[in-house]
């Protein structure tokens, strides 16, 4: 069983909390400590960015994080090293990479290197379902699960394609825009239903999760998991207590905290 499948089974219906961090931000040493902090805070899954110079799907907070990592000279190899060290300390926590197509394309054997480092899934932000098949095939051959994005405006025929290709979870963007802009807990409940019809893996809500209220709203809209990115990265950049924040966010995923 994959680490994601095992995680969803362990959670037994409770919403998974995913913490996103940019690898190498602000430098490899501090980045390794942050990876530990989110797990200490109770993150069920860890999603990590590999910094790219031109992150068009990201808002200012994640752009700045990528910029800091690149300014510190962080390379893709450094990122795989960070993941491998994390994996050596944490056998169970699923780790997914979120990055951009050019980073993957520039490195022959990217999928193999990712699998060797202990990566479970890969989401390429600028590879939509339309272009995903060759990438997904290469991932599967290396034992990395493809994750695709489903958006509120994605037509049913594309959701069905996503249902076929996406494996670990489905990254749901239930509103327009880029990372780090907040919808204030406004999620389209229709997406989850349409996804279920397409046979897609569990819906994990990606954009607009920065407070316990947003987590509860996502659960109300049918999320099986949430990923919090900009709020954690922003807090870390200001020297805040990341483990404590993650703990608060994770607490809001427990069934007894859901009031809706």
């Amino acid at each position: 069983m994959s680490r994601y499948a095992a995680m969803f089974e362990r959670l037994n219906g409770e919403c998974a909390f995913g913490a996103f961090l940019m690898l190498g931000d602000p430098d490899p040493l501090a980045s390794a400590a942050l990876l530990n902090a989110v797990v200490e805070g109770g993150a069920d899954m860890v999603e990590v960015g590999i910094p790219f110079s031109d992150p068009v799907a990201d808002g200012p907070v994640i752009q700045a994080a990528a910029g800091r990592a690149l300014a510190a000279g962080v390379t893709v190899s450094d990122c795989f090293d960070l993941i491998a060290e994390f994996r050596a300390r944490n056998g169970e926590v699923p780790v997914g990479i979120l990055t951009y197509a050019n980073i993957v394309m520039a490195r022959p054997g990217f999928m193999r290197d990712a699998a060797d480092a202990g990566v479970d899934s890969l989401l390429i932000a600028d590879v939509p379902a339309l272009e995903a098949e060759p990438y997904a095939n290469a991932m599967q051959q290396s034992g990395v699960e493809p994750v695709l994005i489903a958006a509120a405006n994605t037509p049913q025929k594309t959701l069905e394609r996503i249902g076929k290709i996406s494996k670990a979870y489905t990254y749901c963007v239930s509103r327009a825009g880029i990372t780090g802009t907040h919808a204030g807990g406004q999620f389209d409940p229709g997406l989850v239903g349409r996804l279920a019809e397409s046979g897609a893996p569990p819906p994990v809500f990606g954009f607009g999760i920065s407070s316990p209220e947003h987590v509860r709203a996502a659960i109300g809209a049918g999320a099986k998991g949430v990923i919090c990115g900009s709020a954690i990265v922003d807090l870390a950049s200001r020297g805040g207590n990341v483990a404590a924040f993650v703990r608060t966010m994770k607490d809001s995923t427990r069934n007894d905290s859901v009031r809706q």
Binding site: F52, S53, D54, P55, V56, A57, G59, Q63, G67, L70, T75, V76, Y100, A101, N102, I103, V104, M105, A106, R107, A125, D126, V127, P128, A129, L130, E131, L148, I149, A150, A151, N153, T154, P155, T158, V173, A176, G177, I178, T181
Partner: protein, 384 residues
């Protein structure tokens, strides 16, 4: 999508999933409009009576007389950009959009977008790298005069690449009301095809004008390549004429041996940026490099995917012209022919002048893609 959007291995539609429906809508509007005589009539009317097509073909008098200049500098707006911007403006109307966004480097595409925004009644927002805002203050003022909002982009290298990133981010949140009026034959499908087809008029006219002037096709067609829209527009109708050499001129900046240039096809490697698989200037990890050119319009680390294919297939050749060579050509054209051309176009001219010298018997067609008014202040500093 109804078309493949591929040029050999290059092209495609590499955008966040959320933008795919907007690109599908655009492709549908583009294909439907081509079948609609009313669309074609309205566009042709605007091109003729508003923008000033056809543009002349000028045979040089004092420079080598085997040089022929296709005068897009005389088009309304001051560059070839207006051709496809009018077309996309009409498409945006067809799709019911009320707002236009655009990226701009030199400011020429921003000016063209501001023109169509004013003419057709759109709210217009232009993203421009803050370094380019500094370099091209006159164009910034022009855009504002025509009612556009110019947003300086502070991220990355603060040039065209970063302006595209910011426009894509805006579009990810605004696509329902907003058309992204991309300025060159690059980016995700359908833009490379759409922009080429609406710029094709340059080469179609030039081909007929060459036959009219000399009774035959030119031996070589030379155009500058940043994103590549004026070059692909000039080349497109010559591609089947295999005896006609097609030559794209990239920005060699301060020299191709260093890092300060914009010669994507000459020094780049295949990659994916801004929606398309194409050549990119990048480091071994795939991080996109900052570029340099004296001309803001050629200061771009990617290139339209059809040029990548024309290079790999061998149908077109790509060469470089340095800042110094372009400046010298700019000055020469002013002194000898009384024409101030854009720094971008001066790159094409620099190579064409060499070629005219080497091959006095050849007829050489040069795309003079824009006029140089925007560059006069910078030229004053550089040539003083």
């Amino acid at each position: 999508m109804r078309l493949s959007g591929r040029f050999g291995r290059f092209g495609g539609c590499y955008v966040p999933e959320i933008l795919v429906p907007a690109l599908e809508q655009l492709e549908a509007a583009f294909l439907d409009a081509q079948e609609d005589p009313a669309f074609t009539a309205e566009l042709n009317g605007l091109l003729a009576n508003y923008a000033g097509r056809p543009t002349p073909l000028t045979k040089c008098r004092n420079l080598p007389s085997n040089l022929y200049l296709k005068r897009e500098d005389l088009l309304h707006g001051g560059a070839h950009k207006t051709n496809q911007v009018l077309a996309q403006g009409l498409l945006a109307k067809r799709m019911g959009k009320t707002r236009l966004i655009a990226e701009t480097g030199a400011g020429q595409h921003g000016v063209a977008t501001a023109i169509v925004g004013a003419l057709l009644g759109f709210e217009t927002v232009v993203y421009m790298g803050s370094d380019d805002v500094e370099r091209q203050q006159l164009n910034v003022f022009r855009m504002r005069l025509m009612g556009a909002t110019v947003v300086p982009v502070e991220s990355g290298g603060r040039t065209l690449k970063d302006a595209v990133n910011e426009a894509l981010r805006d579009w990810s949140a605004s696509f329902e009301s907003t058309h992204y009026l991309l300025g060159t034959a690059a980016g995700p499908h359908p833009f490379p095809t759409l922009v080429r087809d609406f710029q094709r008029v340059i080469g179609r006219e030039a081909r007929a004008q060459m036959i009219e002037h000399i009774g035959r096709l030119p031996d070589a067609v030379v155009a500058c390549v940043g994103g590549g829209s004026n070059a692909i527009g000039l080349f497109a109708d010559f591609i089947p004429d295999t005896a006609v050499r097609l030559i794209g001129v990239e920005a060699a900046g301060r020299g191709l041996d260093g890092e300060e240039h914009g010669a994507t096809l000459l020094r780049g490697a295949a990659g994916i940026l801004h929606g398309a698989e194409t050549y990119l200037l990048q480091d071994p990890d795939g991080q996109v490099k900052d570029t340099w050119s004296v001309s803001a319009g050629l200061d771009y680390p990617a290139v339209g995917p059809e040029h990548a294919h024309l290079k790999d297939s061998g149908r077109a050749d790509y060469v470089g012209a340095t800042d110094a060579e372009a400046l010298a050509a700019f000055k020469t054209l002013a002194e000898k022919e009384g024409i101030l051309c854009a720094f971008e176009s001066a790159h094409a001219l620099a190579h064409a002048l060499k070629l005219a010298d080497e091959e006095p018997e050849s007829a050489i067609l040069v795309g003079l893609s824009g006029r140089g008014d925007k560059d006069v202040a910078q030229a004053q500093g550089l040539l003083a």
